[in-house]
Symmetry: C5
Subunit: 90 residues, 5 copies
């Protein structure tokens, strides 16, 4: 899993049917000091995360499991927000 | 998912049967400011994206789900364009 | 598999049901000299690793196999600690 | 998918049974200007690509689908050449 | 697949049951000139590779297929040595 900060969202009208009606957030991966690492990605939100929050991301098949209608919708998504980070304990 | 800009296409005569008749676009991953990040890839287009447009990419098994004939054609593809980005909200 | 050092944990109240009750450790990938490489990740612990220990990480579907209730909980996790490294033999 | 240039092959006598009799090409990922990006990999050839040619690569499960005997041989391969690139249209 | 050089092994007493009794080698990815690229990983050996040898690595599901008892042991491994490289032909 990866730590990331939610920085916005993308608006897309023409897209795969499995993505319709879902929140597609722009996320910036960070380390546990909140510093940006790597590059921005887009993640489907399944926990109600808002802009400015730190979140947990999963990729690949795990990301589709966060969608309870995965098989019914033939979900194409490969990145999901699966948790909101309250704090980093170090 | 990744944000990318469509910059062209590849022409390939000799290829896996599952790729015949599909549009194989050259895409440059970008961040939400449109700046190029990482390196170019090739993605199968399933939403009618044109050169110069910003798009959403998925990789791996999710990319094959964007192809409704995935199992019938034994699709080898591992990267698909699954949405056209109208704008970045930040 | 990757070598990493456990440096802390994340606290998350709002998260996918499959992650409830599990230890989510912040890990820093390292090489066999203990030097940090790449960027921090978050891994579910299945072997009782503590802060400061060197561990083995797996990603993707392998990470979910480390969870014996994977299918029952519809586990979304994509990174697990699967071993504590006693020493590097070189 | 990735663009790459075929630069040679590896000779391996002792290997997994699923790799016996297959051409294992050394490939250098490139962008659409033919410039080297990232690092060399080894890909199983399924389209008859020769040294010096530009090719399309797929990774992961897609790479095994390019092998029509995937399940019978319990194929371990994770990277295949699935097309020869005639030209880049930009 | 990736080219790598075997540089040692890790000793781990406390680990996932599927890793017990297996050789866990520290490998340094290399290019076809033998130069180190990227960062060290740990791979399960299935071909009897020794320290100092050049080898072929696979990742992900392919890595588990190199283990003939994959399902029985519920293998968590995500990286395997699947061949010893005799030479690079360029």
């Amino acid at each position: 899993m990866y730590m990331a900060k939610v920085i916005g969202s993308v608006v897309s009208t023409q897209k795969d049917p499995s993505l319709v009606g879902r929140k597609l957030m722009i996320v910036q991966p960070v380390n546990s000091d909140g510093q940006a690492v790597r590059h921005q990605e887009v993640a489907a939100d399944s926990v109600g995360a808002g802009v400015g929050e730190y979140v947990l991301l999963v990729r690949g098949a795990g990301a589709r499991r966060a969608n309870r209608n995965e098989e019914a919708t033939r979900d194409v998504n490969d990145c999901s927000i699966v948790g909101i980070i309250d704090r980093f304990d170090k």
